[in-house]
């Protein structure tokens, strides 16, 4: 028996529903149908009246969640795809994100965003929107990369008093498996050294952590390079201390992300490292993002649009040869 990443998300919601009467789920097709990705399978039956199908109204879904949170509930809203949260953008960044600052009343809601690219999904079922939400004060944005993090960080997200954007990567849903859900006890806001190394640091998050590890393995085989991989886990807050500690060991930084190249997590990571750890760097910091186009639909284009072990290795070789 093994647990997949999507199982972990489902199980976390089951735990939350069981342990906290304030929790309820809202989203399109999540009730009897169990959701487009089956992240809520069986939960409607197990928790009658607490897993509710919504109309196709992303704006109202988040407005509703803010209202429920004001009244002390802990809604979890499933967007069918992260990309559709663009419709809820206003309610997320202007209603949910500003509420605590404006009124002193926190709004503990969690928005689950099925994120990231998969082959053949195209421009509107592949987006990574973490940087968009992280820009706004008042939101916590998490990006679990492991089965255990998928579970524990969802539990923690719902327990936080603030609105959390929980970015779950669709590519990991069924591909990523673990024998069981063993967390390492890290809280939201702490990064993890996924793979220790000493020649360069790759800072990544979500699915790109696994591509970074693959690239690191290749470079190990290829030239004995030891690449450290840091998994940010949450992009806001962003644990710059762990990143800096890693760079103190390696002297070299590659910031890696699947999102579009202008701005985003990689820019924030590089800018913070340079501001706070300039002296630690033995080489110019590098970034690797997707290409600057919408996410293409054809798998051949898609594979060339996002960073791959090949392109990561290329970037690392240049970084190492500086």
């Amino acid at each position: 028996m093994s647990v997949t990443y999507i199982d972990a998300i489902r199980d976390a919601q089951e735990t939350l529903l069981r342990e906290d009467p304030r929790v309820f789920l809202y989203g399109q097709d999540i009730s009897k149908f169990g959701g487009a990705f089956k992240a809520t399978k069986g939960l409607a039956e197990a928790f009658p009246g607490r897993v509710l199908d919504s109309p196709i109204s992303e704006d109202a879904m988040i407005g509703m969640a803010v209202g429920a949170a004001i009244e002390g509930m802990r809604p979890i809203v499933e967007m069918q795809f992260a990309d559709f949260s663009s419709i809820a953008f206003n309610q997320i960044v202007n209603q949910a994100a500003t509420h605590y600052y404006r009124t002193g009343v926190p709004v503990p809601l969690t928005v689950r965003l099925p994120s990231g690219g998969t082959p053949g999904s195209g421009p509107f079922h592949s987006q990574s929107m973490e940087a968009i939400y992280a820009h706004y004060p008042g939101l916590v944005v998490v990006t679990p990369a492991t089965v255990a993090d998928a579970y524990h960080m969802l539990i923690e997200s719902v327990r936080l008093d603030d609105p959390v954007i929980y970015c779950e990567h669709k590519f990991l849903y069924r591909w990523l498996k673990a024998p069981r859900i063993n967390g390492d006890g890290l809280p939201i806001g702490k990064a993890r050294i996924t793979r220790p190394g000493k020649h360069a640091t790759v800072v990544a998050y979500s699915a790109m952590v696994h591509e970074a590890v693959r690239a690191a393995e290749r470079l190990k085989d290829e030239g004995g390079w030891e690449i450290e991989v840091v998994d940010l886990r949450s992009v806001k807050p962003l644990d710059i201390d762990t990143v800096l500690a890693s760079i103190a060991r390696t002297g070299r930084l590659l910031a890696l992300g699947e999102a579009f190249p202008w701005g985003g997590v990689t820019a924030e990571v590089v800018a913070r490292v340079c501001a706070e750890g300039f002296h630690l760097l033995d080489a110019p910091p590098r970034r690797l993002n997707s290409r600057d186009t919408p996410v293409p639909y054809h798998p051949k284009l898609w594979a060339a649009h996002r960073p791959t072990p090949e392109s990561i290795c290329l970037a690392l070789r240049e970084l190492l040869s500086f």
Binding site: P55, A60, I70, V105
Partner: protein, 340 residues
């Protein structure tokens, strides 16, 4: 049919205390807003001033039919009268307009955005239509907690706000959930400068009620007693399990969009028409004629409210303004990991 409903109205069954509450809130709000307007002109107000002048009957009829401490009232831009009727302290208003740090928003947000969400008064954001689903969510929470019995959630929007996707999604969702939501559409003929015919093409916004599957009511917003009657009934219907109710009120705002605006785009003929009647002046006549209040009583109320307003202004003016050094500059309550 709403027209019939309105025509057949007999006002004998109007509760005397309720009508007096409505009227007093209208009067107090008018006096308060007149003060705000002159403070604005004197440069004493922080931010903009948006008045509910001419819309007090609608707003107060709603506020007075809600029960503070139980119901939810998401006041909007022209709801000073409704806030007053619902029981919002005058100081919440003056402190916000005058920039006192003791106000409910501590200087972080202002004026018409003020609220006390934990006390059933959500604090609106500017984006029109966005509160409808928030009130829906508050009601959903009550249902999930088993505390929905006898509760009503209400909000007001303008004619312009009906064009927003948020309004549509919010009211549709409430209809699907059959929540005790009351939405008042105050059709004051203009959204800022934009007239109805550039905003929608239906004969009457009330026609939308059927399309959402919610109760529909039409009312003359310049007529205090009609408002008390129709809005009071809509609230009662929602409270008694009749599902969402939409009330469309016909009226005119008797001010500019904000105090920076002279409203010169409103045609004189419209100002002079029935729509342009002042619900307060008109209300005074009705109150007296129908025996809801005496001339003396009204005079006394006026004096008392004038004093209350003065006091609330004076107090707020003496209070400290926010100090950036004391501000904690935190947008999250929990700060996981200790910051951004």
């Amino acid at each position: 049919m709403p027209e019939t409903e309105e025509a057949q109205r007999t006002r004998v069954d109007l509760d005397r205390d309720y009508v007096r509450d409505v009227f007093r809130a209208m009067l107090k709000a008018r006096l308060l807003e007149a003060k705000l307007s002159s403070l604005y002109k004197a440069g004493k107000i922080v931010g903009g001033v948006y008045l509910g002048k001419g819309q007090e009957a609608v707003s107060a009829a709603l506020g007075a039919s809600l029960i503070q401490g139980r119901d939810i009232f998401a006041a909007l831009i022209r709801d000073q009268a409704g806030r007053t009727a619902f029981g919002e302290p005058l100081l919440d208003c003056t402190r916000t307009y005058l920039g006192s740090v003791l106000g409910p928003m501590k200087g972080r947000d202002g004026n018409i955005h003020r609220g006390r969400p934990r006390e059933g008064m959500p604090a609106m954001i500017s984006h029109l239509g966005a509160e409808v689903s928030v009130v829906g969510g508050m009601l959903m929470a009550r249902r999930l907690k088993g505390e929905l019995g006898g509760v009503v959630g209400a909000t007001c929007v303008g004619d312009g706000a009906t064009s927003t996707g948020a309004f549509h999604e919010g009211i549709n969702m409430a209809a699907v959930e059959r929540l005790p939501l009351v939405v008042i559409v105050s059709n004051n003929q203009f959204a800022y400068s934009t007239p109805n015919d550039r905003q929608f093409a239906c004969v009457d916004l009330l026609d939308r009620a059927k399309g959402y599957g919610v109760g529909g009511h039409s009312v003359d917003g310049t007529d205090l007693l009609a408002c008390a009657d129709v809005i009071g009934r809509a609230v009662r219907l929602a409270r008694e399990g009749g599902g969402p109710q939409m009330v469309v009120a016909r009226l005119l705002r008797l001010s500019g969009h904000g105090e920076h605006d002279d409203g010169s785009y409103v045609p004189g003929t419209m100002r002079d028409s029935h729509l342009g009647r002042d619900c307060l002046e008109n209300g005074i006549v009705h109150m007296i004629e129908q025996g809801f209040a005496t001339v003396d009583e009204i005079e006394r109320w006026k004096n008392r409210f004038t004093e209350e307003v003065q006091a609330a202004v004076a107090q707020a003016q003496q209070e400290p303004t926010p100090d950036p050094w004391d501000e904690d500059w935190r947008a999250c309550s929990s700060e996981p990991g200790g910051g951004i």
